[in-house]
């Protein structure tokens, strides 16, 4: 059985919230070490009466979901599955702040209701009047991957035709402030063209939502086949992950040579990029490598943006200049491997094949 990516939708710091190809102009606006989503006009997808309560992550998620359904030509999916590590941080912060400042008195329900992690998936179901399976994974750097695995397992059962799934996280002033205190972000000013070559610790804080419609039939707009997925939790060494990659490719009866483009989650943090250096130099020497986190920033579900980039590469047959990090791209791009890790503890491999 093959699984096809029949449609995608993406809200990111780039102008991605439109159907079609990779955006022509790429100039993500770094605000210090913070990279915010470029908000589209959400009223395109969301009724004005509903939008008034929605925080950004809900709007981003719903927009990405609707875009991907539109592309796939699907009205009601057979399952809705989301991954979000932080969930609805903005509403959580609002409720927490009021609760503390008002000594637990005169609190209102809206921000509490919307703080639950399944709000995005629930809102999508509500808007589509979709009674189907609905699930939300909230596991740090595996949130998106778990949602993807759940989707694959459900499609394999053969009863579902189309699954809407995606990854989303929002960055708030509080979360940026707090995570900054863990020295996670760059202290010095940097641009998106410099980030990937940085030799200092720290990365750029990002956010976004990327959704996909997966199905077992090749639709008219299908981007690629989702050929494989695996995760590795806290691998002991770079050698272990290299072995995992070889084994993963072997399961799919290919070798490194068959990979036309390796997309890595390189984020400009000199300590974290060691993993990618090792894999690129020992397993894929001289081969084309692409990157994406200079365009979306680092966040736990950033691999969903990576998969979106992979889809665009496969459907257009081209690697955008801003994505190509090193090596020369082959004339035909058939297989893309996305290797991402989050904080060195959550590693994932996603294999896409052109269709």
């Amino acid at each position: 059985m093959s699984i096809y990516i029949q449609g995608t939708g993406c809200v990111s710091p780039l102008e991605t919230a439109a159907e079609g190809l990779f955006p022509a102009v790429v100039n993500p606006a770094y605000d210090g070490a913070r990279l915010k989503v470029s908000d589209p006009d959400y009223k395109q997808w969301i009724d004005i009466k509903q939008i008034r309560r929605m925080s950004r992550i809900i709007k981003m998620g719903v927009a990405a979901a609707k875009l991907s359904l539109q592309e796939a030509g699907v009205e009601k999916p057979d399952a809705i599955i989301t991954g979000t590590a932080y969930g609805c941080l903005d509403d959580t912060g609002v409720f927490l702040t009021k609760m503390i400042n008002q000594q637990e008195e005169m609190l209102t329900p809206t921000s509490f209701i919307q703080s639950t992690h399944n709000t995005v998936a629930g809102q999508i179901a509500l808007m589509l009047s979709c009674h189907a399976y609905n699930n939300t994974f909230v596991h740090k750097g595996f949130s998106f991957e778990s949602a993807l695995l759940d989707s694959i397992m459900i499609l394999k059962e053969g009863k579902s035709k189309h699954i809407l799934m995606g990854g989303m996280d929002e960055l708030t002033t509080h979360s940026f402030n707090i995570i900054s205190r863990f020295n996670r972000f760059k202290k010095e000013p940097i641009t998106h063209t410099e980030l990937l070559h940085s030799t200092t610790p720290g990365t750029i804080a990002g956010e976004g939502a990327a959704c996909f419609v997966l199905g077992t039939e090749k639709g008219d707009n299908s981007y690629a086949r989702l050929t494989g997925l695996t995760t590795s939790y806290k691998p002991g060494s770079t050698a272990e992950i290299a072995a995992d990659i070889i084994a993963f490719l072997a399961v799919h009866e290919i070798t490194q040579e068959d990979i036309d483009l390796l997309i890595t989650g390189r984020n400009g943090d000199s300590e974290e990029d060691v993993w990618y250096e090792h894999v690129e130099s020992t397993l894929f020497p001289g081969q084309a490598v692409g990157c994406f986190k200079h365009l979306c920033g680092e966040y736990p579900t950033a691999s969903s943006f990576g998969m979106w980039v992979g889809c665009k590469v496969l459907s257009s047959g081209q690697v955008p200049a801003t994505v190509l990090f090193k090596g020369k791209t082959r004339e035909k791009i058939k297989k893309v491997l996305i290797y991402n890790h989050y904080k060195g503890t959550h590693h994932s491999l996603i294999l896409l094949t052109g269709c």
Partner: protein, 398 residues
């Protein structure tokens, strides 16, 4: 179905007992858990009873073998997960391909609340150690790491149905040969965040909750953790006493309102119907339903009407164990899965406490006394939540 998924054991810690046998004793003695807040610090202490695990964090930490400064949610999780594992007789965890699928709704919020009070005064203050495990996934990993589980670790959060969804995902991992054993369920400690949140919805009862009673006024919040151990067919022989099979499950969305259930409980109905279909059972074959039964006007009437639509005229015995444990949110699906699976093995029927008057919406009443040795071959466990998330599980005799 490719391969059967067995329940090899289970563990629970909650307000009516700090292990599973203690909880069963509480049911036997009709010893409900709602009481004045003792461990949670809140302005609402005198107003709303809660069902707390009767131990402070230091005591729980000593039992869990974890540091006392980490989230209570992780401490509860570790204690129940360990009891669940030990009950299987499988021995060393490292000898198997084990997954840990745990649900919770607010992660390390109990510690984040403390951090935030300082942080709001000055963004540079507040101890970072209190917020480092804020994420839901961190709670799962603290426990997975301490148990030595690496093969598959993930966290589900679908509000009050989270724990049940953890079992579904865990069963799929086994059917897809990703792992051989999964510890699946959920955990949640009481926090001021959730207490105040439910208070804004005006669905907290100032007395002990009365699920499926006509005079019900709302729910009592509780805390705890509950896990079953899901085991694949071929490992069944190694289990001390396999409890039962997880024969069916389904998840559906009500798609009606962000928090409220549709009056007729369409999501509830679809979840129960889907679970029956997977198990290949007819409604009249269900011997007991462990209700979601929160005690709110809305939930109980929707759930009741959905049961009527699916089961009439053959109503099985039903009860809400939340009348004892309170609503433990992300843990409830896990805790009630343990109770439900054990009911199949032992022939238990659990009582619904505080019941007096039949609801006018439905023609049936809950079981009000504990009994054992009943013919209980198939048990349904319901978990419904915010966001329209509805899940049903069915446990069947092997």
């Amino acid at each position: 179905m490719a391969c059967e998924v067995w329940i090899g054991g289970g563990g629970v810690i909650c307000g009516i007992g700090d292990n599973l046998p203690a909880c069963i004793e509480a049911f036997r003695n009709m010893a409900t858990g709602a009481a004045t807040m003792e461990y949670l610090s809140s302005a609402h202490r005198g107003t709303y009873p809660v069902v707390e695990v009767r131990a402070d964090n230091a005591t729980l930490a000593a039992r869990a073998g974890m540091p006392a400064h980490i989230s209570r949610t992780a401490l509860l999780s570790r204690i129940a997960a360990q009891e669940a594992w030990d009950s299987t007789g499988l021995g060393e965890i490292r000898n198997y391909r084990v997954g840990f699928v745990s649900a919770n709704t607010v992660g390390g919020m109990d510690k984040t609340e403390e951090f935030f009070a300082d942080y709001l005064k000055d963004p540079q203050s507040g101890q970072l150690s209190q917020v480092v495990n804020h994420e839901c996934g961190s709670i799962t990993e603290l426990v997975a790491d301490s148990l030595g589980i690496r093969h598959h670790v993930t966290t589900i959060s679908t509000a009050c149905s989270s724990g049940a969804n953890a079992l579904m995902y865990g069963a799929r991992l086994i059917r897809n040969n990703m792992v051989d054993v999964v510890i699946a369920g959920g955990t949640d400690a009481l926090t001021r965040f959730t207490l105040n949140g439910f208070n804004t919805l005006m669905i907290l009862d100032q007395e002990s909750s009365r699920p499926f009673d006509d005079t019900r006024k709302g729910l009592n919040l509780g805390e705890g953790a509950g896990y079953v151990v899901l085991v694949k067919d071929t490992l069944k022989e190694l289990i001390r006493t396999p409890w039962c099979k997880l024969s069916g499950f389904a998840n559906a969305n009500d798609a009606y309102h962000q928090t409220a259930s549709s009056p007729e409980g369409i999501g509830n109905y679809l979840a129960m119907k889907g679970a029956l279909e997977m198990s290949g059972l007819k409604p009249e074959e269900i011997d007991y339903i462990n209700l979601h039964g929160t005690g709110t006007q809305n939930n109980d009437s929707s759930e009741g009407l959905a049961i009527e639509r699916l089961f009439a005229p053959h109503y099985p015995p039903v009860s809400s164990t939340k009348s004892f444990t309170g609503h433990t949110l992300g843990a409830s699906g896990g805790i009630e899965a343990v109770f439900s699976a054990l009911a199949v093995r032992e022939g238990y029927l659990y009582p619904n406490a505080n019941f007096g008057t039949r609801m006018k919406e439905v023609p049936f009443t809950p079981v009000t006394a504990f009994s054992e040795g009943n013919k209980v071959h198939h048990v349904m466990s319901n978990s419904f939540g915010f966001g329209g998330n509805c899940s049903s599980l069915i446990f069947s005799i092997g």
